[in-house]
Symmetry: C2
Amino acid sequence: MINENIKRRGLMLILSSPSGTGKTAIAHQILEKDNNFFLSVSVTTRAPRPGEVDGKDYYFVERKKYDEMVAKGELLEHAEFCGNCYGTPKKPVLDALEKGKDVLFDIEWQGARQIAKAAREDLVSISILPPSVNELKNRLINRGQDSTEVIEKRMKTAVDEASHYSEYDYVVINKDLDETVDAVKCILSAERLKRERQVGLSDFVKECFCETK
Amino acid sequence: MINENIKRRGLMLILSSPSGTGKTAIAHQILEKDNNFFLSVSVTTRAPRPGEVDGKDYYFVERKKYDEMVAKGELLEHAEFCGNCYGTPKKPVLDALEKGKDVLFDIEWQGARQIAKAAREDLVSISILPPSVNELKNRLINRGQDSTEVIEKRMKTAVDEASHYSEYDYVVINKDLDETVDAVKCILSAERLKRERQVGLSDFVKECFCETK
């Protein structure tokens, strides 16, 4: 692997896209063959579903505990959906970055904005957009999972999500899934070669570029 | 090609490395299959060699004209080698970037520093280092092109060049040429997907993310 002997700091990779654009498939393909990712376990106030394991699927916490974590700044980002609260514990992520592990976040622009505030230097954000709203609508219809009303609602959210593209480092138009996955992998590879992340370069240059023996 | 319908600004790609590290081979492989590069023609005060064509290999100018160009800020970067002066005309490069063409510079840290001063936002700089000075020395000996004295001199220059790694955006250790070429291509692909370069995104989002029809 390129630059494998150089110690580096991990990065936080955020993929955001309107529902139906392919983000889940893309994230899955990234994680499948890349063993350098730390999988963050979120906290949530919702009840566990059958089969879910505390500390593995989520950390299941009481609302009071969640509010404390927010107040103490222990969450990297947090949000509320459908009456339930969710958040990413900060310390495990920062420990992972320190060890050179990367963290993948499948979140929307609101969470991305919070992480940017907390840790801009470690963040790499990619906005993935469909070629058009009509193309997105066709994909959702063909996927056959949603009713007409839900699709209309996703369209409105898509327009809102797309309008936040200017807050991201990279923008990729997902016309072809394989092409898009390759592009995201390239961005990841490139960002791992950023000089500032390779904290071991100073030692490397000192050790390997001394006077010729 | 990914994002092919989005208008973007070109970028200036600088590859710097100690002599013998493989920069020429890497640049050649980048340019071979990528037709989005503008090939900058440098000015020089040296005399044309047999077969060289003015306006194609170089713009051959008198020293007085060269000094004028420097004084008027018409050169993006300039330097003197072995009593001859060289420089990159600025206007053709900026015109190329405006049209979405990229420009590849095979220059050392002194030229990279000048370009960074003139046009930081457009610049992507990669420092390519050998795995060690000893490895570099072996490569130069095996290449059989230089005398022992020249090799010793290149080693000193190599140590100097390597010490400037901190002025570059990316650092790649060239252990394996194919891996390094892939890494440079990834950096290029990723940088082309940077949101700020894709100047057509605003129009794209307006046109393609209007109310569903």
